[in-house]
């Protein structure tokens, strides 16, 4: 019956990050039951860079592997979704960041996880989310002179003929 005494992984993450960056860094924390019960944190946009570095470097968190990152257009806001894995502690973590719909911008984590580089470029390319501090934020799938961001819900195809 030790489980009642021990903190769940989610509580542990919240406490650890809360101690370091204050309560305000985490906007929300919950278990996402639809995604195989993955602990999910909604991190405040301004503090994301420091929290990200902490997620990777802190011994008790140690999320050294970025599985996936992408953005979602919800029409009234944009969201970033990151999925991490810690091979050391064998634990999953999802992180979300809410961005404004107009000029969405979030700091790049490409220098923390090298695997974020192309995914951030892809997100920029298709959704128009700007990643501050990215070493080479250019289009990756579409031609450089493409107009607009196709994955946005209000995207209209630009036609030269019209």
């Amino acid at each position: 019956m030790e489980e009642h005494v021990q903190l769940t992984p989610l509580e542990r993450y919240v406490t650890r990050i809360g101690e370091k960056f204050g309560e305000s860094a985490i906007e929300n924390a919950y278990i996402n039951e639809l995604a195989k019960h993955v602990p999910t944190l909604v991190i405040q946009k301004e503090q994301w860079k420091e929290v990200a570095r902490f997620l990777k470097e802190d011994e008790s968190l140690h999320f050294e592997y970025l599985s996936n990152l992408h953005g979602i257009d919800y029409e009234d806001r944009m969201e970033m979704y990151y999925h991490f894995y810690s091979y050391k502690h064998r634990q999953n973590l999802a992180v979300k960041i809410v961005l404004p719909r107009e000029n969405p911008s979030v700091c790049s984590v490409a220098e923390i996880w090298g695997g974020a580089d192309w995914s951030e470029r892809e997100t920029y390319d298709l959704l128009g989310i700007h990643f501050a501090g990215h070493p080479n934020l250019t289009r990756i799938m579409l031609p450089d002179d493409w107009v607009g961001y196709p994955l946005r819900k209000d995207y209209v195809e630009y036609d030269e003929e019209v």
């Binding site: 195989k36 996936n68 992408h70 091979y87 090298g114 990756i140 799938m141 196709p150």
Partner: protein
């Protein structure tokens, strides 16, 4: 005149005076060794690569955008066209994501059919890699053997679902077609045949000294680098990390089978070569057990609502494809179409390390390093 005389000193050691200059070399997008439409702009000095810039997107069809206007079942054929060498795992990962959201139970028989199809496809995919990789580095005949055996697998899959490569076989809640009479026996026979055939592959290539010297120590990196660049599959296991989602985050019925996760520590092209062949062996083991355990009868479709509407919310699932970790993210608003579908493609993620591996490498090794990553461009560009 000069040629007949013994070489003078200036002829023997002109090395310091050879003027080299940087030059830009364009590779692809139409080149057999890029395995599709992939372009590399390589800056070389002499024969050493100074910089390599990958250019992609030639095969970008906007699958994620198209999917937003399709029902979940309609997306399945699009998944076939991402990684067209291993479409079964792509089929599965999408169905698995929706089933996870809806909490659907899959009939046992359907799960076994899925696993048999996926493992057959994994072998076929590794065979294509084996053949084309050796073709890349200059051996012609292995390609013919690999494609002969792969064709037997494609025949089996064709019999199961009516297509050689773009299967469209799985459905949310089960599979579309039951195994035709005698099919399971044919799979069992193939497994026995392939088990006998695999040692010949090693005999033909693996022990060849030229081949070993060609690949050992090429394209090498360590475990920390692999994790930093989000590598998965063989690209990760070749650095000594024992990690396979089939076992470590088991899905479907994989926890019912005994199999090893082959790993190596060298992290070079040769290690990746050995691992892919070792994985064929393990897939054959799984197939052998699956054929034995295959239920005599049962449903192939679970109880699924007529219109598939996952509950509002989001999910992210990942499974082990032949190329590594393939993941699907779905944001649902409770409608019959996804609000957002995101595909985590292993080829795209694994390719990220290429520019770093190429810097300082010899130009002649470029094709060997690129080939060892095992990319499919349909998946890189999505």
């Amino acid at each position: 005149m000069l040629r007949n005389q013994p070489p003078t000193e200036s002829v023997i050691s002109p090395a310091p005076e050879i003027r080299t200059e940087e030059m830009l070399l364009n590779v692809g997008p139409q080149h057999p060794s890029t395995h599709g439409v992939f372009r590399l702009v390589v800056k070389i000095e002499g024969e050493t690569i100074k910089e390599a810039v990958p250019v992609m997107g030639y095969l970008h069809r906007g699958t994620e955008k198209i999917a937003e206007n399709l029902t979940y079942t309609q997306i399945i054929p699009y998944m076939d066209r991402l990684d067209y060498l291993a479409a079964m795992t792509n089929n599965y990962v999408l169905c698995h994501a929706v089933e996870t959201m809806m909490g659907l139970a899959i009939p046992e028989r359907a799960d076994y059919l899925r696993i048999i199809a996926m493992e057959l496809n994994r072998i076929a995919s590794h065979l294509v890699w084996w053949g084309t990789y050796l073709l890349d580095i200059g051996a012609m005949s292995p390609f013919l053997y690999a494609f002969r055996d792969r064709e037997s697998i494609l025949d089996l899959l064709n019999e199961l679902c009516g297509a050689r490569m773009t299967f469209n076989y799985m459905r949310i809640g089960g599979v579309k077609w039951d195994a035709p009479p005698g099919w399971i026996e044919k799979v069992a026979n193939f497994v026995q045949y392939m088990k006998k055939e695999l040692p010949n592959y090693h005999k033909l290539v693996s022990g060849n000294e030229i081949f070993i010297h060609r690949l050992a120590g090429i394209g090498q990196y360590d475990a920390d680098t692999a994790l930093h660049y989000s590598l998965s599959g063989v690209m990760l296991r070749c650095t000594g990390i024992k990690w396979d989602l089939r076992r470590d985050e088991s899905y479907s019925l994989y926890d019912r089978f005994e199999f090893e996760i082959p790993t190596a520590v060298e992290g070079d092209c040769l290690a990746r070569y050995w691992l892919r062949l070792a994985e064929i062996e393990q897939s054959l083991r799984i197939l052998e057990q699956a054929v034995q355990q295959f239920p005599a009868d049962g449903e192939i479709m679970g109880k699924v609502p007529r219109v598939i509407r996952p509950p509002a919310g989001e999910t992210y699932v990942r499974i082990e494809s032949p190329r590594g970790e393939i993941g699907v993210y779905i944001a649902s608003q409770g409608k019959d179409k996804p609000w957002r579908l995101k595909l985590r493609r292993p080829s795209f993620m694994n390719l990220q390390i290429l520019p770093h591996l190429l810097v300082g490498a010899n130009m002649a090794n470029m094709v060997a390093i690129l080939g060892s990553i095992d990319i499919v461009l349909g998946e890189v560009d999505a």
